[in-house]
């Protein structure tokens, strides 16, 4: 399933620059708000990360891990500097008012698994 389909199905708001999301296929998912936990446990390069943290450091975490995108939940919004930094290092930021629980549930329903 492509990131384009995920954005469409979950009605996510794109905060960073438009890319060809039909060519990006998240290979796994992870949800946590503890950054060190994400560092230790996010499955692998190309994974999708769901969190309610919206400060600038999440961009570094995602870039270090080579994640495909971050979904920021519960209506949290990153500031301009964070969005600019995400664009600079090529990390896609997506936002939703839904809580992490629903987002993960929907991703699971769409078929995103970590065992592929």
């Amino acid at each position: 399933m492509t990131l384009e389909q995920i954005i469409e199905e979950l009605d996510l708001t794109l905060l960073t620059v438009e890319r060809d999301f039909s060519r990006i296929t998240p290979v796994a998912g992870y949800a946590s708000d503890m950054l060190s936990r994400v560092m230790a446990c996010a499955p692998r390069d190309g994974a999708l990360w769901v969190t309610l943290q919206a400060h600038g450091n999440i961009v570094a975490v995602a870039a270090v891990l080579g994640l495909s995108a971050i979904i920021i939940t519960e209506g949290e919004t990153p500031d301009e500097a964070t969005i600019a930094k995400a664009n600079e290092v090529g990390i896609t930021l997506l936002a939703t008012r839904e809580p992490t629980f629903s987002v993960v549930g929907n991703l699971w329903r769409l078929g995103l698994r970590n065992d592929q």
Partner: protein, 323 residues
């Protein structure tokens, strides 16, 4: 660097000139005139459509080309009533849609023409091509952003192969500011990028970047004045050190325990300081060494890229002490 980049660009553009054809870049929607049209009509056409010449077509075939200089000559002679057929050059140079751009460029330079009609085997007009069309076509074909990274990687990968010395190393230094949670972690992003460009595997780049991220965030969270990150990349070893000037770790044994943290609550609310930092580092690197006093902390991390690289640690240590 700049000149290398432009050389690379030219080489690639040249390669595409041997792949792309006139038909790939030509303009298909051509404005034409007929031999019986008046020069006044032509003049109006050139002005309203903002072009400087047009092919002359009779019964679908190209019979000539009329350009601004032809028109100016006729105007100078005061002959605005003349027809296009009397004024045009009779035998226009043409190219075929299947002609390679390199051939089209050759026709441009041989004839000095500004535009060339593109005709099929029956001399029927199928398009028109200018040097601008070629430039646009080549620019379109040249790789964009994504492949730039490929070129950078290709160049960086040769760094260690092209330089002969007893010991070659690349040193990256980063200044980390205390309390800068927004920018903290960016050094590790940059190191990861550098390692990938140097040809490191995704796994190696990831392990290094995670270790550096945790070391970097420790400097951001737990130091008075921030600190220095120094990454020394060698063909067989990556040596990373994080240095600061205090206040030091009170109990290293406790700090190494998973889940133990001294991070204040308001910083923990941001997701930092869960107490896994040093453990993450230990898990990612091949060797780790930590020394801490109230005057400062030194964290050393080693990645060994080749079997036996561990024994060459000594070289790095001796070099560093004598520097």
């Amino acid at each position: 660097m700049k000149s290398q980049e432009s050389t690379q660009g030219i080489t690639q553009a040249e390669a595409f000139a041997y792949e792309l054809k006139a038909g790939d870049v030509m303009t298909c929607d051509v404005i034409t005139v007929e031999p019986g049209d008046s020069l006044a009509h032509l003049l109006e056409l050139l002005q309203t459509r903002q072009i400087s010449g047009a092919p002359v077509v009779a019964n679908g075939t190209v019979v000539g080309m009329i350009n601004m200089p032809d028109l100016l000559r006729a105007l100078q002679a005061g002959d605005l009533k003349a027809q296009v057929g009397d004024t045009m050059g009779p035998h226009p140079f043409t190219v075929a849609p299947e002609d390679l751009l390199v051939k089209v460029l050759e026709v441009f330079s041989r004839t000095g023409a500004g535009r060339l009609p593109v005709v099929d085997n029956d001399r029927r007009l199928v398009g028109i091509i200018t040097k601008g069309d070629i430039a646009r076509g080549l620019l379109k074909a040249l790789p964009s952003d994504g492949d730039d990274e490929e070129i950078r990687r290709y160049r960086a990968r040769h760094l260690f192969e092209d330089i002969v010395s007893d010991r070659t190393s690349l040193i990256l230094r980063y200044r980390v500011r205390a309390g800068d949670f927004d920018n903290g972690g960016m050094s590790s992003v940059h190191v990861r990028q550098a390692l990938l460009r140097l040809g490191a595997s995704l796994d190696l780049a990831r392990r290094c970047a995670i270790a550096i991220y945790e070391a970097e965030m420790n400097l951001v969270i737990h130091t008075i004045n921030g600190g220095i990150l120094r990454v020394e990349i060698q063909p067989h070893t990556i040596f990373i050190e994080a240095l600061d000037d205090g206040p030091g770790i009170k109990d290293i044994k406790l700090a190494m325990q998973s889940g133990y943290t001294t991070t204040p609550d308001e910083i923990r609310a941001l997701g930092f300081g869960a107490g896994f930092g040093l453990n993450n580092i230990k898990r990612c690197v091949d060797k780790m060494w930590l020394q801490s006093t109230p005057e400062g902390t030194r964290l050393e991390m080693w990645m060994f890229l080749q079997p036996g690289a561990e024994h060459r640690m000594l070289e790095t240590i001796v070099d560093r002490l004598s520097a």
